[in-house]
Subunit: 321 residues, 5 copies
């Protein structure tokens, strides 16, 4: 579906174009075309390929979806693949946006996500003096919008981690903790996948030799790279923390199990003592003088109670009960 | 066994050659020869060596099999070793294909695999304008076909992992889970071996200084490298997940064992109490007034039942039963 | 809040400036301006941006806070972000200081920390011959002050680790040990985050190609980098030690649990033997001659005591009791 | 001990030399000298140092033994240290061979190993046209012989690993498995040590700037490097598998222990029930009407048997027995 | 404390100098000064700084101690920090030696260690032809002496590891093993710290661009680097082995615990059977015909003994007893 197809001249909106006229505007000096597609049909993509003269391999990648985030150069144009991450009812939904950026055009193709970039276009149009910088700035604005949307995702995951950490030394919560840690790790790996691959490629967009499209906006692209580094470092640190937390949880499980074993065994010992004494006085020997005594029974009960209490007190003192 | 031996001119099939005529066609301008062998005999390989003037070290590697995936330059020709992975009745079968590509020839040698490349030849012949690009394009088409066949293998392994993950928090499945995780890890390592070594070498086929054979097809070889990166990243992530899953499984085993211990010990305690009471009233003291009482026995049973029930209720409340 | 705003000439304090006059002094030869802000308002930052002609992206980073430590070049000026770490009542507090350093100015902005840099200014002013070196030296002095304050933080964490290590083989301390290790790891990761990112960037400030601001002070910036390396190596080594300590702690828990299980089971066995003997002599067979014997009962008690003692002695010898 | 000392000219064996004449032949055009020593005395090494003008540091390394595998350049000559690995009665024996290779000489010194290189010399002498290439080819042939002997060692270790893996899910084998895994890991680390260090250095022998001795044989040295990579990758993968296997083994131990605990506790519960019932009917209350019944005893036995059977059936159904 | 302060000319000892005359000898052609300090006072260090014109940052590092091993260039002079490791009563003692080496001087400063370098000076003086090479050779000789002293330390640690490994599968030694492994790891980390940092820096002293002081002695410095690599590789391998050993130890603990649990539970089962039978015959039913039989009691004892023996035999067969 074509969302927008607009030509700009000197930073100002010139005209809304029908698709077939795009190629006419590409040659006009100081002019560039900015097209936005969403879940395009093969036909629409093919029309774009013809109008912008896109490389077939890039178009193929754009039509398949499920690409790895990347930045590729085809001659003097750039092909950027980014992942869109959004929360849909507690689950992470992965979409994709690919951007083709040439000297005088930007084509963005969005798939499988409800996030749109109308705000980016509005903000760009409201600042003609920066929009004058052309396709490079638009590419930056789109990338910046995508990357900025990773931060709230990261925050949700980090606060989930903190909430798990608060419960990690709570007794009896280990089963739930480990399930949450495992689920969290999977989500972090998805974010990591979106970020680290893009981070690696974003290093090409500033520094010594950069594609012509980005040449005038290097500090901006370095800024994107810096944001990605920040997310990446925090994701790595969270993953490392999860690893430790799983190990610590295992220790806690073992410690708790040991405590329960001790307590149960202590009670078992107390009853075993009582049973042993009772068994002895239950023997059928003829000459057991204490059995004839008037106070034999209460005394026996007393002995049993004393022995049990003594054990209880010993175990209590050693912290087993 | 020689499957095919064809000379092409300007992208069109010229003639099916006998092996001994190959060298005659190598010097014709605009001409290239494409030979496909399968499980060749030493004699066949030696004939190829003579006709194409192949380097003895490369021919030795091709005749031994079980090579590491790699790309090597010998003068102006390339020697590519790739692994073929296919499912044979639930098990992974590893085959091998080696490709010799020179300025005007391509020789592919397949070993130990049922996958053939007739489709590649057909597709190339149906597009004469790309086949005109010569040996470099054919090399790309062969590599692309091999790499594309890794994707379904990866998908099978990933869905196996997902199926294990669904069962990882199910009680009593830990033995089976760990066996499946271990078997899956072995298969992933095999895929990893096929992919990561080839990925490393494929970086030589595009970028700054490339072999002459690939010079005109750099975006295509970059595309292969990109596909390999994608598989590699997913394999790495799956391996990482397996590592965590094994650790989580160990935690689950320990947790479950703790639960069972608690339950059994709780029942043991209930019976121990009953036994202790019965033991006491089984003692043979002469003066145990309750033994004479009319309702002594039912009362005793009541006491035993109450004590047991109380314990049962306590354990229930603490979640041990 | 503006803390200080002073112009220097030839290493000597020239005059305290109002903010609006800053730009006048920037053009005077041999002159540089050194401004210190603390938790600035957006207005104050904007005034600075205008006076020093700072890059908008850098100002944005400075106004947001919570940046990753980094060093960035904008034209001929440097933008440095560092984290301040201080102890507030046993907890680590993270602040931030960003420094803008150009050929003839230094602007430091401090956030969320009680540490101030008045001592740095005093020391610099007391040594006019080094202050003459200008903005580069002031940048060094500020960075050096920040980095030097990491050392006491590291020492506290290392002595905490040593104190945990002393208790790691003490019986019964494993729960506490693991909580302390986990808390310590989190603090070390924060220090690591502050240090390792800055270390990575500090490599840009000396060596082959350095920013003009640092050109005359390379050994000084190498010294900072060396200090950071030292902290980083020790943090890494401590993190590694914590990982081992967690694993060792898990082993100790398992060993201790095993010892307790052995001891309890040994006592259970001793009582079980007593109960079994008592049970046998409690049977109601008519013809049990030993029951009629005068010394049957004491002998039975003797047998029970001997069997129990023998077991006790055996268990003692095997180290179970 | 001097094994061989021969001068070659144009690829053909010229003459067997006494040691003192070596230097005379070094200056003859098209001539090179190939000497093989075994466990040499200091005197023999010193003679070699004088004749070939070897660097004292290299000679020192050669005389000490127990060096790390390496390749070092001294002026226009190469000094190569390799480890020899052989099986002596089920144990790995480590020997060492060092090779000095100059423009017109090769000196190999073997220590502490029974493997000899006579086959290498024979094969070289039987192919005069390759031997004509001189010292570089001889160096290659020696290195190739050493590296080729690593493959059978690797195969033995890999089949040991496979044999352990087959037993890893077998009940009751965990103690033996872990001992074998540990022993295997030690042997793999020795092989890894021999291979990975040499692999790292072998990269110097082909590619952009290579020592003069190797200049004409680059594909050959690349082939050695490729073989080393192959071994190295397989060793790494085996080590990784061992790590996982140890963890899996630990899980299996814990699972098996849990199964045994369950089974024992189940039997304990069955007997505890029997004991509790028996205890109740063993109480001495006067009014226990069932005790007077004719069929009381068989009924009681029936009750006890039923309760025990019911428990047995419950436990069986839950898979505990 | 000044240990030695000597001027050399053409490799021969010229004169023992008072400190204040040092600078006079620095300008004489073919002359160099070699000074050795031990635990110097600030005054002594300051005198050196003046005489040799040392960089203040280097002098600061030398006066603080506890530096990371490193090699730094200050103009045409080198500043080398190394750690000295020695055994003092079973514990590792860490000292430090820093060396300042310029074109015509060497100054070594030793701290907190009893190891001296008089042997180095003696050996150098006894070989005038190498001492003629000047400051670079002396620097090499000092570094070589320090590095050579790491080898016996490594050997002690490795033999401790081997001694632990011998005991790792011995029953009942796991607590002691884990304490020894942990202590050993700490010592190895200290050695690693001394070696790996120095190794990293030593790469600067040979190869493409080297400091002028080392220019003529490159093979010597490469030799030091090689020795460091050897130690480093062995330390890394030992650390890796310790990690595995800790995990294996944990497995052994779990296995042993399982064996003990099995044995104890087996005995418990045997006694529980005896108790259950005794309980049944201890019931007070009136009509229990076997109680009246003459041979009832011996028969009952026989039944109990048989049941217990049967269990004992079953458990024995399953390897539980």
């Amino acid at each position: 579906m074509i969302i927008n197809c607009v030509a700009y001249q000197e930073g100002a909106r010139l005209v809304d174009l029908p698709v077939d006229d795009i190629s006419d505007y590409l040659d006009k000096p100081g002019c560039f075309v900015w097209v936005a597609l969403r879940d395009p049909t093969p036909l629409e993509l093919d029309a774009m390929r013809r109008e912008f003269d896109l490389h077939p391999l890039a178009v193929e990648d754009a039509s398949h979806g499920h690409q790895r985030p990347k930045v590729e150069e085809y001659g003097d144009s750039l092909f950027v693949v980014m992942q869109l991450i959004e929360w849909v009812g507690g689950d992470m939904n992965l979409g994709e946006v690919v951007v083709f950026a040439g000297p005088n055009y930007v084509l963005s193709v969005r798939r499988g996500s409800k996030q749109h970039f109308l705000g980016v276009r509005e903000r760009c149009e409201s600042e003609p003096e920066v929009l004058k910088q052309g396709a490079g700035y638009v590419l930056y604005a789109l990338m910046d919008a995508v990357v900025d949307r990773y931060f709230p995702v990261l925050e949700v995951l980090q606060s989930e981690l903190e909430s798990i950490e608060e419960g990690i030394f709570v007794r009896g919560a280990s089963r739930q903790n480990i399930e949450r840690l495992y689920a969290l790790k999977r989500k972090l790996l998805q974010l990591d996948h979106a970020v680290s691959s893009l981070l690696q490629f974003s290093g090409k967009l500033y520094g010594r030799r950069v594609p012509a499209v980005c040449a005038n906006n290097q500090p901006y692209f370095r800024d994107i790279s810096d944001h990605l580094s920040r997310i990446d470092a925090q994701v790595d640190s969270s993953l490392d923390t999860i690893g430790t937390a799983i190990l610590v949880n295992l220790s806690m499980v073992t410690i708790e199990q040991g405590e329960v074993t001790k307590r149960l065994a202590a009670w078992a010992a107390i009853f075993a003592v009582a049973t042993a004494f009772a068994g002895i006085w239950g023997m059928n020997f003829e000459f057991m003088p204490e059995l004839k005594l008037r106070w034999g029974y209460p005394a026996a009960l007393g002995v049993i109670a004393s022995a049990s209490s003594f054990l209880w007190w010993r175990f209590r003192r050693s912290g087993w009960l």
